[in-house]
Each structure stands twice: as structure tokens, then as C-alpha cells.
């Protein structure tokens, strides 16, 4: 009798190959057909480099959204981290450690404030984190008086964070892969991850099961803040100097990737690995558009359409809502 119930550890093909990876294959084939430059080693590296920066942001937003909430302050946190890392002058062993640690700590702090507002005060997460976005951008611009930021000195080790290419692959790609793997394990194999899914699925059920909803929810925002700050530090390493008004807007492509990867807008469903797949899809599309000389405005338009299409597709597949 009980044999029908007793679980066998089954791994279906569909557990691993979700639709987004098929989409990725299709997009790559089309890209290769459109442009023979696409598969050149230099371009592939560029696609990955591009995807990784947004991808790390998207991973954090995935964790927050699995819990059922949004984090649109991430773009501002990226900018904050890039500016702060450069202002700290990442030179010498201690200097570099500080230039990495401080932005990550501030990112964690921004996440904690977001989390408190959403999970303790019950604030609407979209509007609250948009408010936070403006608050952070304004504060960073005030910090540098709206001026171009150039580090006094940048150590080679700091630059190497993004410019080193072990095995011919940019180092950040390894960082990204490691983060995807780590988050995949956290989300699927730990009690903490399980509780995030429970909160996103049904807050009331989670509360009644004694899950510390607020503490875990705040933790998801802290993760998101730290990951966004990580992206910012990588940008600082990549460019070495920057115009703070010119970087930003990472939250939108990241959100698009999160949704495209199948994370439900109402929470409880979604996987970091699928977000990574979606990030690559968007990076390929963006890259092809750049090769074909469709500039930023068209890319924006296409991203908006991809987001709308993805939301519509998944809501149709899940039977409405």
C-alpha cells in the first residue's frame, strides 16, 4: 500500500532543463546566424562580462522575489558600491580589502532597512524600494557633489578582479558561477531556503508554522543588497573611474531576467539557476542588438516587451493570476 506513497528520488529532465535553457539555446543559434562576429572569443567574453554584472544583481532579486517581495533599490546600490569602492582608493592589501568590505556592508545596511520597512512595517515593497533607490542615488551624488569619481590610486590586484582571465574566461564569470551554485544550494538544500519558499507561498502558513517570517525576509533583502554591492565593486574594478550619473538602471534588466527565469511575481516559485539562464538570454539579445547597431532606447523597448511577454506567459501557464 505504502509503496505508491513512498518517494523514490526521481530527477526528471524537466527539473534541470527548464524552458529558459531551451530559449537560451535558440537565442544563441539565432545570434550566431545573424552575426558571424557573435561567436568570436572576444564577443563571447563580452557577453558573459555584461551578463555577470546584471546577473549578480538578479540573483539577489530572485531570493527576495521567491519570498514574495521586490527589490528595485538594487540599481542604486550598484552605483553606491562602485562609487564608494573608488572613493576608498583600492590600493594595497588592506586598502583593497576595505574598498571591497565597506561597500558590501553599506549594501547590507540598505538591504536591512528595506527589509525592516517591508517585513516589520508592512510597506509595499515596490514603492518603498523605489523610494530607497532615489534616496541612495541622491545621497551618493551628494557625497561626490555630482562629480566624476576617480580613485587616487588603484592597486593592480583590484583591477585584476575583473581583468584577469584564468583559462581565457573573465574572473567575474567564475565569481558569478560560484554565487549561482552557492545560492542554488542555499535555496534548495537548507532550512533557510525552504522557509523563504514557504513565506513566498503563504505568509500566514509560514507564520503559523513558527517560521520567523520577518527575520528571514529581512535576510533576503540583506542578501540582495550585498549582491548588488558586489556588482558595484566589480564595476569599479572594471572601469577604474566613473561618472555616477551614467551608471544605473540595473534593476530593470535584472528584474526582467528574474521574471523571464520563471520566478513567480507572487512569490514561492523560482530558482537561482534559471535566473542565470535568463540573464544569459538577455545578455545575448542585448549583445546582438548592439552588434546590429540598435542602441540603448531600442534595447530598453525590447526589455520592456520581454518583461511583459514573460509575465504574460508564466501567468497563462500557471492558469491566471
Amino acid at each position: 500500500m505504502s509503496e505508491a506513497v513512498l518517494p523514490r528520488r526521481r530527477v526528471h529532465v524537466t527539473d534541470v532543463v527548464t524552458p529558459i535553457w531551451l530559449v537560451l539555446v535558440v537565442v544563441i543559434v539565432i545570434a550566431a546566424l545573424i552575426s558571424d562576429r557573435f561567436l568570436s572569443p572576444g564577443n563571447v567574453a563580452a557577453v558573459l562580462q555584461q551578463g555577470v554584472i546584471t546577473g549578480i544583481v538578479a540573483l539577489g532579486m530572485t531570493v527576495v522575489l521567491v519570498g514574495g517581495e521586490f527589490d528595485l533599490s538594487t540599481g542604486a546600490t550598484v552605483m553606491m558600491a562602485a562609487v564608494v569602492a573608488l572613493l576608498l582608493g583600492p590600493d594595497g592589501g588592506v586598502g583593497i580589502a576595505v574598498a571591497i568590505a565597506v561597500p558590501l556592508l553599506i549594501g547590507a545596511g540598505i538591504g536591512a532597512v528595506n527589509g525592516l520597512a517591508v517585513y516589520r512595517a508592512g510597506a509595499n515593497s515596490i514603492v518603498a524600494t523605489i523610494g530607497m533607490q532615489f534616496l541612495v542615488i541622491g545621497a551618493v551624488l551628494a557625497l561626490v557633489s555630482g562629480q566624476h569619481v576617480r580613485a587616487d590610486a588603484i592597486g593592480e590586484t583590484f583591477t585584476a578582479l575583473t581583468h584577469a582571465r584564468p583559462l581565457g574566461v573573465p574572473l567575474p564569470v567564475f565569481v558569478f558561477a560560484a554565487l549561482v551554485a552557492a545560492l542554488a544550494i542555499v535555496m534548495s538544500q537548507t532550512v533557510f531556503g525552504r522557509h523563504i519558499y514557504a513565506i513566498g507561498g503563504d505568509v500566514e502558513a509560514a507564520t503559523r508554522a513558527g517560521i520567523p517570517v520577518a527575520r528571514i525576509g529581512i535576510a533576503t533583502y540583506v542578501i540582495s543588497g550585498v549582491l548588488a554591492a558586489t556588482s558595484g565593486v566589480l564595476i569599479a574594478s572594471l572601469v577604474g573611474h566613473l561618472d555616477p550619473t551614467a551608471i544605473g538602471g540595473y534593476e530593470f534588466p535584472a528584474l526582467t531576467a528574474v521574471v523571464l527565469g520563471g520566478t513567480s511575481l507572487s512569490g514561492g516559485v523560482g530558482r537561482p539557476a534559471d535566473t542565470a539562464g535568463a540573464i544569459l538570454v538577455i545578455a545575448v539579445i542585448t549583445n546582438v542588438m548592439t552588434i546590429l547597431n540598435y542602441q540603448y532606447p531600442i534595447q530598453l523597448l525590447v526589455q520592456g516587451m520581454v518583461l511583459t511577454g514573460a509575465v504574460a506567459f508564466y501567468s497563462w501557464r500557471r492558469g491566471g493570476a
Binding site: F70, A117, V118, A121, G122, A123, N124, I126, V127, A128, I130, G131, M132, Q133, F134, L135, V136, I137, G138, A139, L141, A142, S145, G146, F252, L255, V259, L265, S266, Y296, P297, I298, Q299, L300, L301, V302, Q303, G304, M305, L307, T308, V311, A312, S315, G320, A321
Partner: protein, 309 residues
């Protein structure tokens, strides 16, 4: 009426300290001059028209993040259509905004997409389309009639338009059955549907109104500046949401008033105006708006939690 019914501490907490701010502003050189008051009126009039639309959408339980992008589209469209006459230009700006609002409404009601995400996507698409159309450069107009529309002394025409829009919205919301229906939909969509209201149509109409008003606001702003800029209005959704929230609207719908939102906007407008007079850089203003919105949303959430379910 609604505001009187709510506890006094909430009123003091939520309502903007507009009068204290005005008193403080007396000590700011030139605040009460005719010239500055006119500047203030100009500044609040375009945002104010947007706020009216946002408030109506929020009463219906929705949200419209696309208002800033639609405003930019309205301004660009108005300038581009000017060669066909001022009427075509004005109608064009309003209709384009209405079309965008229709799309938002359809995304929300037909595809059942969360209104924040639906209008965020609309915001990005409209912004992308306007930037692409203008090749990211502002379009300039030297048409006299158009520029005159952006003038008006001592009271700017745009401000008169705002007063007219507020009056119309007030009548629509408070004296017509339609207004009752919008409140009903926002308060309890299922109950509204069961009492026979055409919920989807009503909500879509609210988005159309918001889109059209944003288009018109864009036109008036372009007339004042003499250019239609594809990049304006980035912080407009924040300002509009903050004003509506100050005015008693809630992110859960069913509440809010156009008059209250106008008071909220006046408060924000005075704050920004005083900062401008004092020469406070724009990024501090950005910080202020962001912080204000953040605090308002937190308050909104806390008030909701206090309420017995």
C-alpha cells in the same frame, strides 16, 4: 468627510505640515514674491495634473509608474505635431497618453499582471520608444501660440488648467455614480464585481484618465520649456505617489481624495521651491523625495497593520 472620520493623531501624522512650512518659508528671502509664487504655481501645475490621474488610479486599487515616461511622450508628441496646428498637437498628446493608459489597463485587467509591474514595463517601453523616436535629443519648438500656452501672468495657464482638472475630477469622483464605483472597486474588487460593476472596464478607464492627463501635463511642460524632452519626468511617479499618499490615498486602494493629493503636492512643491531658493543641489532634492516616499510607504504599511482585519 473620510478624513474627519479618521483619528486625529493619524491626521496630524499623515497630513503634511504645510502651514508650518509656509511660516518657515517666510524667513526665506523672496519666497512670498509674486515672481516666486508664479514659479511655484508653474512647478506644481504640471505635476499636479499627473497627481490627479495617479490618485484616481490609486483609489481604484492600482498604481501607475508610467506617468513620467508618458509625460515625456506627451511633450515630444505635442512639439512634433505642432505643424498641424495647436489643436491637433494637444489632442495628439492626450490621445497618445490615453492609448498608453489603455495598454496599461489591458495588461492589468486582461493579463492580470500586478499593476506595479505592468506599469513599470509600460514605463520602460514608453521611455524606450520616446528615446528611440527622438534619438535621445530634445525636440524644440519656436511656435508663438505654443509658447504662449506655457505663459500666463500672473497666473500661469497651466495652473488654471490644473484647477479645472481638479474641479472636474472632484465632480466625477464625488457627484457621479462612476466615482462611487471607483472607490468600490478599490476597496473590494470581488464585492464590486458581485454587485454588478464592470470592474475591468472601470479600472481600464482609470488608467486611460491617468495616461491622458500625463500626456496633457507633458504638453504643458513642453510649452513652458519650449522643448519636448525625452528624458523628463524620471521622478514624477515618485512625486505623484508621495502627494497621493499624503492626501490620504492608500496602496491597497479604496481611499484617497484629489483635494488631499493637491495639498500633498503643494507641500512637496513648497519644499522643493524653498530648496531651490536656498541653492540646495538637485541631488538633495532627489534624496528628499525618495526619503519622503519611503517614509510614507512605511507609514501606509503600518496604518494598514493597525487596522483590525
Amino acid at each position: 468627510m473620510n478624513a474627519l472620520a479618521s483619528p486625529i493623531f493619524i491626521r496630524l501624522f499623515v497630513k503634511p505640515p504645510l502651514v508650518p512650512l509656509l511660516i518657515v518659508a517666510t524667513f526665506v528671502n523672496g519666497f512670498w514674491s509674486v515672481g516666486n509664487l508664479r514659479t511655484l504655481a508653474e512647478a506644481v501645475s504640471t505635476d499636479g495634473i499627473v497627481v490627479v490621474g495617479m490618485t484616481i488610479v490609486m483609489i481604484a486599487g492600482g498604481f501607475d509608474l508610467s506617468v513620467g515616461a508618458v509625460m515625456a511622450m506627451g511633450g515630444v508628441a505635442a512639439v512634433v505635431l505642432l505643424p498641424y496646428g495647436i489643436v491637433v498637437s494637444a489632442v495628439g498628446a492626450a490621445v497618445l497618453g490615453g492609448v498608453s493608459g489603455t495598454l496599461s489597463g489591458l495588461l492589468v485587467t486582461r493579463l492580470r499582471i500586478n499593476p506595479f509591474i505592468a506599469t513599470l514595463a509600460m514605463m520602460v517601453m514608453v521611455r524606450g520608444a520616446v528615446l528611440a523616436y527622438t534619438d535621445t535629443r530634445p525636440v524644440v519648438s519656436l511656435d508663438d501660440t505654443f509658447l504662449a500656452l506655457g505663459g500666463g501672468y500672473p497666473v500661469p495657464y497651466a495652473f488654471m488648467a490644473l484647477i479645472a482638472v481638479i474641479a472636474l475630477a472632484y465632480l466625477l469622483l464625488n457627484t457621479r455614480p462612476w466615482g462611487r464605483h471607483v472607490y468600490a472597486v478599490g476597496a473590494d474588487e470581488r464585492a464590486a464585481a458581485m454587485s454588478g460593476l464592470r470592474v475591468q472596464l472601470l479600472k481600464t478607464q482609470c488608467y486611460v484618465i491617468s495616461g491622458s492627463l500625463s500626456g496633457i501635463a507633458g504638453l504643458l511642460l513642453a510649452a513652458r520649456l519650449g522643448t519636448g524632452s525625452p528624458i523628463i519626468g524620471e521622478s514624477t511617479p515618485l512625486t505623484a505617489a508621495a502627494a497621493a499618499l499624503i492626501g490620504g490615498a492608500s496602496l491597497r486602494g479604496g481611499e484617497g481624495s484629489v483635494a488631499g493629493a493637491f495639498v500633498g503636492l503643494l507641500f512637496i512643491g513648497c519644499l522643493v521651491n524653498v530648496m531651490n531658493i536656498l541653492g540646495v543641489p538637485s541631488y538633495y532634492q532627489r534624496m528628499t523625495i525618495g526619503g519622503l516616499l519611503f517614509a510614507l510607504v512605511v507609514t501606509d504599511g503600518m496604518l494598514m497593520r493597525l487596522r483590525p482585519r
